[in-house]
């Protein structure tokens, strides 16, 4: 039976792993390659490396570390951040990444999704979506350039419409980052994820809000997501992946031991 995936996300800046709370006040967590290796050995099912500043300040992700990770990692990994063209994506995939994740550049140029699909196949194309619940309108809306608070902006897209559009264009997987929950460890946004799950025919990964092991059980049981992404609870040792997997298996969730 297909297993639900646990996906540590390593936010990268200047070759170091960082994790911000609500995208601000970043603190350095550690060097990237040994951390990646540690997670692979600890039982992570997949890793995401996200250059949090690349999209917002116009840089392309520093690529040298992608190859260094590919040398030591024997589980799938995805690279995100500042990939703006088919050529950018091609370089990252050639160095050994399995997937590329596109967020802000897909909003600026949706055709990029179709071009990546046609060139590398659907399985390579992950779309990251930063979704924020706007209390005034009562709607979830897509935000762009969230790596830099001075440039962060609300887009024209309601989250549900953008989820449908990226699938139409050829996305192979969607990572839904629920911004209201990010970094505060109060649990995944189950209500939003359930709504999006109904619209999402490709694998859906929950992101933002993991604080306890029970939060993972809830997101798999209640929102039927294919994977759960988290950062600080893993980086800070609040949750050990082996213990989390044992609990999820005990809760009846399909997990790779």
């Amino acid at each position: 039976m297909l297993a639900k995936r646990l996906i540590p996300c390593l936010d990268v800046r200047d070759g170091k792993v960082v994790k911000g709370v609500q995208f601000r006040n970043h603190e350095i967590i550690g060097d990237i390659v040994p951390l990646a290796q540690r997670y692979a050995e600890a039982g992570a099912d997949e890793l995401v490396f996200y250059d949090i500043t690349a999209s917002s300040d116009g840089r392309v992700v520093d690529k040298s570390w992608v190859r260094r990770i590919a040398e030591v990692i024997d589980i799938p990994f995805c690279v995100a951040g500042g990939i703006k063209s088919v050529a950018d994506a091609g370089k990252i995939l050639e160095m050994g990444a399995d997937k590329v994740s596109i967020n802000s550049p897909a909003l600026s140029n949706p055709q990029l999704i179709a071009d990546l699909n046609a060139t590398f196949g659907q399985q390579c194309v992950v779309i990251g979506i930063d979704s924020f619940f706007d209390v005034a309108s009562g709607q979830y809306q897509v935000y762009q350039f969230t790596g830099d608070e001075t440039r962060t902006q609300k887009t024209q897209w309601l989250t549900r419409d953008w989820v449908s559009e990226v699938q139409r264009l050829g996305a192979g997987e969607i990572v839904l980052n629920c911004m209201n929950q990010d970094g505060v460890r109060q649990g995944y946004d189950i209500a939003q994820l359930k709504t999006i799950r109904d619209l999402c025919k490709v694998p859906l990964i929950a992101s933002g809000g993991a604080g306890t092991m029970q939060h993972f059980t809830e997101v798999f049981q209640q929102a039927d997501v294919d994977g759960a992404l988290a950062a600080s609870v893993f980086h800070k040792g609040i949750i050990q992946i082996s213990e989390l997997k044992a609990k999820l298996i005990a809760d009846g969730i399909s997990i790779r031991p």
């Binding site: 297993a3 050994g96 025919k201 031991p257």
Partner: protein
Amino acid sequence: MAELVIVDTGCANISSVYFAVKRLGTEPVISHDANVIKAANRVIVPGVGSAKAAMANLAERELIATLQGLTQPVLGICLGMQMLTAHSMEGDVACLGLIPGEVAPLNAAGLRLPHMGWNTLHSISSHPIMQGFTEQDYLYFVHSFAVVPSQYSLAQCHYGSDFAAVIGKDNVAGAQFHPERSGKVGARLLQNFLEWQL
């Protein structure tokens, strides 16, 4: 003469296959030179993307006859495995025809596609390449098309329906999953391939 040549199919997962073999202590050569491929002790055919594009790449590199004529152990991975069969419905393209079989859209019975993630095997044969595998092992799959099970299946996987996870005939074998991305279990398949004596 190289111990192991990874065929440069022009697809994107060559580095990860290269590093995975290297972690097992064998230094692979990546090549699209027919003479280098023919002379190798073992050959891996990697591949991701679409069958039609990948077969077009092989044709452009004039490698189709070379791959069809190999007599040493050959391992296809993911799309490289699908290309070992006679035909793919993905783009309606003739493949290498090294192992009888048909690549068809995966009948996921309403489950999400692509079939992406870690899954288990069943109907595991005693072929040398499957040595040590059990139904408790998880392997990493990413695909929407699959090889229909047949007498050449060495292991099957279930996702909505059964499909061939590993196939083999004579000197040729192929895995639908990514051994280079399947942790220690995946490394076992590569190790079995490196030790496979015809």
